[in-house]
């Protein structure tokens, strides 16, 4: 079946502009995650959505970053007033529901963001 999809695959933007990154999780997966992969910081957790619960925003690096998930499916990560240090690959992942939390996460191909 279809995996996690992300768009765009590449985004080049000028410093100070806003960007929106989109994630379509696997159908039926209630948990959705955003991570950032950069050379200096490795893979960092950003935000986590689980069903209708309030999202865990503990990994967002600044208030310029926000995310929403509409209808329990598609998610958008927004970065306002982009800075060069925001350049990274942004990865989205989803996993099935489950109180045990033992499910693995399925990752999308990522969006490569370059801020010039």
């Amino acid at each position: 079946g279809a995996g996690v999809s992300q768009s765009p695959s590449n985004k080049v933007t000028e410093k100070g502009k806003d960007v929106e990154l989109r994630c379509d999780p696997i159908s039926g997966h209630t948990a959705l995650y955003w991570y950032r992969q950069s050379l200096g910081q490795g893979l960092e957790f950003l935000i986590y959505f689980q069903g209708n619960s309030a999202p865990d925003k503990s990994g967002l690096p600044s208030d310029r970053f926000s995310a929403e998930r509409t209808g329990g499916s598609v998610s958008t990560l927004t970065i306002q007033r982009t800075q060069q240090e925001d350049s990274a690959v942004y990865l989205c992942a989803s996993s099935p529901a489950g109180t045990s939390g033992s499910y693995e996460q399925y990752f999308g191909p990522g969006t490569r963001l370059t801020v010039t």
Binding site: A31, Y33, G42, L43, F45, Y48, G101, S102, F107, P109
Partner: protein, 114 residues
């Protein structure tokens, strides 16, 4: 602070030889443990996980991993490496009762030469 360490940035092995990619973690409680692989310009692919039970877990593509609670380690192994195994490998830990986020190691680049 919670952390995951992959002490080797790069591991080089000859095709057909056994390989080990090391991972240790510093996380309270009994976390869930995962290995992921990333091929160039691709997302992360799940390899295997340890939740509970047998310390040796088997996963995709002939990989296995050994959990050692006393050493807080979860090393990835394969008895006979293939050139196609060359990729970036990430160890990840999911702390219990922290909403599901994964804490990743820095990654280890595996290079398998013919």
């Amino acid at each position: 602070a919670q952390s995951v360490a992959q002490p080797e940035d790069q591991v080089n092995v000859a095709e057909g030889n056994p390989l080990t990619v090391k991972c240790t973690y510093s996380v309270s409680g009994n976390p869930y443990l995962f290995w992921y692989v990333q091929y160039p310009n691709r997302g992360l692919q799940f390899l295997l996980k340890y939740i509970t039970g047998d310390n040796l877990v088997k996963g995709s593509y002939g990989f296995e991993a050994e959990f050692n609670k006393s050493q807080t380690s979860f090393h990835l192994k394969k008895p006979s490496a293939l050139v196609s195994d060359s990729a970036l490998y990430f160890c990840a830990v999911r702390p219990i009762n922290q909403g599901g986020k994964l804490i990743f190691g820095q990654g280890t680049e595996l290079s398998v030469k013919p």
